[in-house]
Amino acid sequence: MPIILTTQAYCKMLLHAAKYPHCAVNGLLVAEKTKDNKKDPSAPVLCVDCVPLFHGTLALAPMLEVALTLIDTWCKENRYFIAGYYQANERTKDFRPNQVAEKVAARIAENFGETAIVMVDSNRLTMSCFEPIVVIFDHHENKWKSRDVNQDCFEDWCEAQKITSSLLEGRSYEQLIDFDNHLDDLRNDWTNPVINKSVLDLC
């Protein structure tokens, strides 16, 4: 039940945080629905992608509801499901999940009990990305507890490190689209095909 991140998911989270260094940012993590019906509770869940949601004020409900519903529909079409939530706080020294994070995670948990909260530790965000800068929280006994993060939390850490670093240096975050950008102009595509292609090209 621990989540694992693909390069694309990790990369886009960091690009989102890098695009708005002076704001809090958040988004959803999605995983693929697997065919086997017997759910092995210890099998890791692979988060293949993320959808960047908002930047700035995260604590308002209506657009979040719209985003969750829309993304849920999109997930169904692509055989994904929402498996987690990420957030980077406004203050770099602060990487604990706050009330917003817990509320959204609780909402996601209604459909997927093993929802995780991934907090991005912006304090350690660098171009070279030598170490993973996420802190993963799981829900145990009504509390969110952090888990040790190491290379095992990634599908391929070396690839993730190289590609994320390359995209940060190339300022790809300028092209990252989040749901806020989409609401500003509907032509902005929150599935980020441009960035996805860049990631694929570097693989």
Partner: protein, 285 residues
């Protein structure tokens, strides 16, 4: 000069695109500094602040030193020195700088705002809120301050007080669709039938002021749908809200179709929106 115009536009719009400002500004200053005339000082200020955002202390110091040479006793320049200390996280020193400015000139609003920003940066939201409230008692017309206060309250989940700040802003800016729309979002988040109805009205008002505000359109749809689905409303209210929601859904669909014209990528979004609207209509009836 294109570069000069870009910088001016960014100043006027209060954009925080610091990397771009540093790129353009640094080149402008080093290659064309002599041709800028008196504009150079405001550009130094703009570039300096952007440089702080990008951790370019070298560039920030260059700008600051030029400004200090030209305006040795200026409070405006002293504030920039303070901001540099803030960027280096030397908050106590920065606070002293600002307090010195205020001793000299108690009405200096910039210094007071910087002190409040420091409280925010240090993770002391309650104190920031208290100071900002005191500030607003004196400077009741400062819109930027009211907006900042509304954001601080929202982050503390004190939606009632955030709504009050936005009401102040709407009173003095009745044609601003963004304030209407934000007020509606706060009311919606507060919850409860009365607040939902209020939020619907203000989403509608925002749309009247700007019919392309997608957040207002979605907000109208969501609030009307929730009201129609509520067991506490009478038949007429339910019927009216179903009408509003249906109208909004129609507009949303149109907007997506318009946006998706000619692009393959957005086909996914259009379909997702249609399905979302259909699924919600089922829950309403």
């Amino acid at each position: 000069f294109k570069m000069r115009d870009k910088l001016r536009k960014w100043r006027e719009d209060n954009c925080r695109n610091s990397e771009q400002i540093v790129d353009v500004g640094e080149e402008l200053i080093s290659d064309h500094g002599s041709k800028l005339g008196d504009d150079v000082w405001i550009i130094y200020e703009q570039v300096m602040i952007a440089a702080l955002d990008c951790s370019r202390d070298d560039l920030a110091m260059t700008c600051l030193q030029e400004l200090r040479k030209q305006f040795p006793d200026s409070h405006r320049v002293k504030r920039l020195s303070g901001m540099r200390l803030e960027a280096l996280e030397r908050y106590d020193e920065a606070t002293k700088y600002y307090e010195a400015i205020l001793q000299d000139d108690p009405t200096n609003t910039a210094a007071r705002k910087r002190k409040i920003s420091i409280l925010k940066a240090q993770g002391k939201p309650a104190e920031a809120i208290r100071e900002l409230n005191e500030y607003l008692e004196q400077f009741v017309g400062d819109q930027e301050a009211w907006h900042e206060l509304s954001e601080l309250y929202i982050n503390e989940h004190d939606y009632g007080k955030a709504a009050f700040c936005l009401e102040e802003l709407m009173m003095t800016n009745p044609h601003n669709h963004l304030y209407c729309e934000q007020y509606a979002e706060v009311k919606y988040t507060q919850g409860g039938l009365d607040n939902l109805e209020l939020s619907r009205k203000y989403f509608a008002q925002a749309l009247r002021l700007n019919n392309r505000n997608m957040r207002a359109l979605f907000g109208l749809y969501m609030s009307a749908s929730h009201i129609a689905a509520s067991p506490k409303v009478g038949a007429k209210v339910k019927k009216d809200n179903i009408k509003y929601a249906a109208w909004a859904a129609n507009q949303i669909n149109r907007a997506y179709k318009l946006a998706g014209r000619g692009t393959k990528e957005n086909k996914c979004s259009v379909k997702a929106v249609e399905e979302m609207l259909e699924s919600m209509q089922i829950t309403m009836s």
